[in-house]
Amino acid sequence: MFAHEFVRNALIAGSFVGLACGLVGYFVVLRAQVFAGDALSHVAFTGGLAAAVLGLNILAGVFAATILGGLLMGVLGDKARADDVTIGSLFAWTLGLGVLFLTIFTTQDSAGNGTAGVRVLFGSIFGLSRTDVRNSVVLAVLAGVLLLAIARPLLFASLDNAVAAARGVPVRALGLGFLALLGLVAAQATQAVGALLLLGLLAAPAGAAHRVTARPYRGLLLSAVFSVGSIWIGLTLSYVFPTLPPSSMIIAAAVGIYVLAFAKTGSGGQAARLRLMSDNVA
């Protein structure tokens, strides 16, 4: 399995993408913002298409669009927390813009070199090049470091916004910064491994970690472990059974872990666990 370069590339890039998604996902779930991640992965498509239409660098377009999209959600949302209605409205508009750019793109340039660039958007984990791997590693490490740097105040602000604000934590700036960071991770994951993996790896491993433990740093670690573990399980399954697509298997593994965590901890009690968590932080 490790003899093939494409498998090695998939494992390395996948592990780092998984790490970033697992770490950021822990806070995404805590702040109930999985929908924002979902929307930002579509913002990435629109950004890439817009850059292709305007003849700009597609990667730059993807990153600029998602980071701006994250900030816009925060600005429009209540208390910079991006509520579901704001995300949904922005989401719908993004899809509409995407259709527009797609129409312009397909009518304007049918055989130019732009088509190759747009393929970047539909990332496939078994089709990564050395450069893709390097980019994924650098960006994942960057996102991880940025997140850990703001982890403590962000945790405080996520659990008790009012008390954190009263204690002088800049909750609004933190909320906006976190959404921009989520945009960065969404752009990186979407163009490397696809929007499907981003959504699944943000939601399921973190959801499982929140069920298993109420202690924040242990939860953060568990979320990253579950996420990277899902990548490995999924890639192995897909390598052994080549008819099964890798992204479907990775998601199946992640959701499997999530269901196991549910079965183990029983239903209910999430509210109590969150309360316990606030006590741990304060």
């Binding site: 995404v28 779930v29 805590l30 702040r31 109930a32 913002q33 999985v34 929908f35 991640g37 979902d38 429009l76 509520d83 579901d84 209605v85 704001t86 995300i87 949904g88 409205s89 922005l90 989401f91 719908a92 508009w93 899809l95 509409g96 813009l97 259709v99 527009l100 129409t103 312009i104 009518t107 499907l196 959504l199 699944g200 943000l202 939601a203 399921a204 973190a206 959801g207 929140h210 069920r211 008819t243 099964l244 697509p245 992204s247 479907s248 998601i251 199946a252 992640a254 959701v255 999530y258 239903s267 209910g268 999430q270 509210a271 969150l274």
Partner: protein
């Protein structure tokens, strides 16, 4: 071909332009279909926004994809797949929402469900090997290719959804705003939640097949969100939501007719534009009130 039915471009004469809009049967069908979807989306969307279930609504509109893929793989009619998966999705989402809501757990669970649905769809498509008919139109819709028969189907499905929501409107509103009080008052809150998601899911699945998931989702969320910004009164809010949905659909269709760009772009841009204008207007109004009060207190 009669002379009136020759496309002449925008003449800037409102009467001739209006006449032109209705000259082609496909355009009449599109306007009728748009009107039906807008009314359905305006009403159900208002409750969806009230219940803060936008993410669930989007997930339901995605679930049609694995449904169609599973039906193709099993050799069943597509409708069986759509309805089966949407019903199952509504059941799962209602279970997730549960009786006591924790927003963070709900967010993770809905995200996982949607990812699983997409992963299954992707798996079925790659196992199927064939070309899945109508995937593109499922996403973006073939709005300008709607047949008269489809308009009738749309009318039946959307009409049924609106009637069901209208019958349950009072208890549904109560259960959405004050679940605990409603439960104490004998309203079956959990059953209401499931029923609403089921109606929403089936209506979205059926209308998406014809007009595309993009347009349905856009009309469900944004006009309702704008209406909720403008008024807290339920009846007025629903009327506003429907009126906004109708206005953006008609304007969007007319603009698309006279230009080369797609309907989806115009409809989403118009509705998002109105949402932003209302949000900004309200924020400015609140700030003015605040400064006025401060000035009053200082005086």
């Amino acid at each position: 071909m009669p002379e009136a039915a020759v496309f002449q471009g925008l003449s800037w004469n409102p009467l001739t332009d209006m006449h032109q809009l209705f000259a082609y049967p496909f355009m009449v069908n599109a306007l009728e279909a748009g009107t039906i979807v807008a009314v359905m989306a305006g009403v159900t969307g208002w409750f969806m926004v009230l219940r803060r279930q936008t993410f669930a609504g989007h997930t339901l509109s995605v679930i049609a994809f694995p449904g169609a893929a599973a039906a193709s793989l099993a050799g069943l009619p597509l409708a069986v797949g759509y309805f089966g998966f949407c019903g199952f999705g509504a059941l799962a989402l209602a279970g997730i929402a549960g009786s006591r809501r924790s927003l963070s757990a709900e967010s993770a669970a809905i995200g996982s469900l949607q990812a699983l649905a997409l992963a299954l769809g992707f798996l079925f498509v790659s196992l199927y090997h064939g070309i899945l008919n109508g995937l593109d139109s499922l996403l973006f819709g073939t709005f300008l290719g709607i047949t008269t028969e489809q308009v009738v189907v749309l009318l039946a499905v959307a009409g049924a959804a609106v009637v069901l929501v209208a019958i349950a409107a009072r208890p549904l509103f109560f259960a959405s705003v004050h679940p605990d009080v409603a439960r104490a008052g004998g309203v079956p809150v959990a059953a209401m939640g499931f029923g609403f998601l089921l109606v929403l899911g089936l209506a979205v699945a059926e209308t998406s097949q014809i007009t595309g998931a993009l347009l349905v989702f856009a009309l469900l969320v944004t006009p309702a969100a704008t209406a909720h910004q403008l008024t807290a009164r339920p009846v007025l809010g629903i009327v506003l939501s429907v009126a906004l949905a109708l206005a953006v659909t008609w304007l969007g269709l007319a603009l698309a007719y006279f230009s080369i760009y797609p309907v989806g772009f115009y409809v989403t841009s118009l509705s998002f534009g109105s949402y932003v204008v209302v949000r900004v207007g309200r924020a400015l109004g609140r700030r003015r009130q605040l400064t006025a009060r401060l000035a009053l207190e200082a005086a």
